[in-house]
């Protein structure tokens, strides 16, 4: 069965994934909107930057984050000046790393559903006296609901599943940075296979169930399905 360390790792994972997903939705929504609507020449650059974690080995991303956020890195010096200390091997550091690492899983479904809405409903709303902000909340949000559902679930589950970035940026500190994936690694290292099965199997069932529910819900709204 699960021991106390396992439960602590589960609870930590849940906290990081929830917080990261919330931050990703807040930052990712305007970003995805801009990427879907703008015709700036910076668009390609930003698209590539957001998608980078999809192709980069997590260790590479983790390594550079470690350097950047460390005491000699640009970000590290800023956080130290602000009196926040440095971020590596802290809960905050892990959240920052998770946000960057899982961002494409939030931005891309949002961007796809914003693009699918097109400009016509927005123009119709404008001719019916709705300001752009009003239109965003009364038209775009409801029409992009499947996109938000996908973004939330993929962002959350992907954060739960990360390993390489965590190990590089967070290390293996119980209760602070030791998330489920790291705990599984520890169990395997110690040849505690029964313990591993409980966590690994649990994660497998969790991920499959969530995705199964997601795609079943999206099937009822095929036009709005961002991933086909």
């Amino acid at each position: 069965m699960l021991n106390e360390a396992d439960l602590a790792a589960l609870w930590l994972t849940f906290k990081i994934a929830s917080l990261s997903t919330t931050i990703m939705l807040i930052v990712g929504t305007p970003l995805a909107w801009w990427l879907a609507r703008a015709q700036s020449r910076w668009k390609g650059f930003c698209n590539a930057l957001v998608a980078l974690p999809l192709v980069l080995p997590p260790t590479v991303l983790g390594f550079y984050l470690l350097i950047l956020m460390g005491p000699n890195g640009v970000v590290g010096q800023i956080t130290e000046t602000l009196g926040l200390g440095t971020l590596p091997f802290t809960f905050g550091g892990l959240v920052v790393a998770s946000v960057l690492y899982s961002m494409p899983f939030v931005v891309q479904p949002l961007q796809a559903s914003f693009s699918a809405i097109g400009r016509q409903p927005l123009e119709a709303a404008a001719t019916l006296r709705a300001s752009p902000l009003d239109t965003f909340f009364s038209i775009v949000l409801p029409l992009a609901k499947p996109g938000f559902l996908t973004a939330t679930i993929l962002g959350f589950t992907h954060t739960v599943g990360e390993f390489g970035v965590v190990l590089m940026v967070g290390g293996n500190i119980p209760g602070i940075t030791r998330v489920v994936s790291v705990q599984i690694y520890n169990h395997v290292e110690a040849l505690e296979y029964p313990q591993t099965h409980w966590l690994a199997g649990g994660l497998l069932v969790f991920s499959f169930t969530v995705l199964f529910i997601l795609y079943s819900v999206l099937k009822t709204q095929p036009a709005a399905q961002p991933f086909k």
Partner: protein, 361 residues
Amino acid sequence: MSIGAITARFQLNYGDFQFDVDLVLPGSGVTVLLGSSGCGKTTLLRCMAGLEHPPHGKFSINGNVWQDSEKNLFLPTYQRNLGYVFQEANLFPHLTVLDNLRFGLKRISKQPFINDKLTAITTLLGINLLLDRMPDHLSGGEKQRVAIARALILNPTILLMDEPLASLDSRRKQEVMPYLLTLQQEFNIPIVYVTHSQQEAAQLADYLVLLENGHVQASGNINETLGRIDLPLAKEKEAAVVWQAVITSHEPEFRLTNVDFKGGSLSLPMVDAPPGTKQRVQIHARDVSITLQAPSQTSILNVLSATITGITDDLDGQTVVQLQVGQLTLLSHVTRKSAQLLALKIGLLVFAQIKGTSLLH
């Protein structure tokens, strides 16, 4: 509110497409923007609505200035008191018909007592039984009627319509057209209507603007513009003028209706409407022949005295003759040989025999 109360001046440059329009339009009645696709008619309508933002432009309607680039003034669309009907009805798919209708209302008025108005407009457009439906469960014609109601319910200063019938099949067109015709009578607001269909223009327009390649080719009262022989329209096989007339009496024994126009009268096939009703009559140039003397024995009922005001030849041995009848313009297509034999020339007094008329409404 005076006539000539809409000023629209826009300049846009889309690479190889130059759009340059300077128009003064009547502040009431239906203005039709007619032209083939790519002529800029939809662009003009979108500029009026503020959906396009031309760097150089001025748009004012009945005293409200919505754009004046010289004063750096540009009201965004949502601050303009307009109604817009799109080619595709463009209803919000996640809202019922009723919520689509309420969408704009909620944003202009805080008072809940809008139900009378809603009932009046939904009845007028025949959609009062559809209020609980989702847009996906409406036919094309029904969607477009909901879209028209949604625009009108806001009491706009102007109604802009972008080919509202173009996406409908001919049966659905017939279904929606009568509602468009009632709009003019029921709502005293200027309507600007974009179409590529000459037939729709003839049915609806009081004022006609012809657009070609981003420029205004002609603009004026419908009768005047359709009767201009310097325009390609007058030389087409389907060339026709439109007269606005009023029913004066009926002759039921002959199944005939008499109408008056500015400067004369006509007999038409029986119309089921009381005297005093306005009636639009379309007269094709190919149905009008010319004689020099008043024909004393002819089967043709409508013989009108006229003055020749213009003559031009087309390419196929036809001559287009422009006639003035009363205060209205009439076109006649005759063969070039007849034109020479009769020695038709400008200023000549002749008689126009009208073989047939089409009633528009």
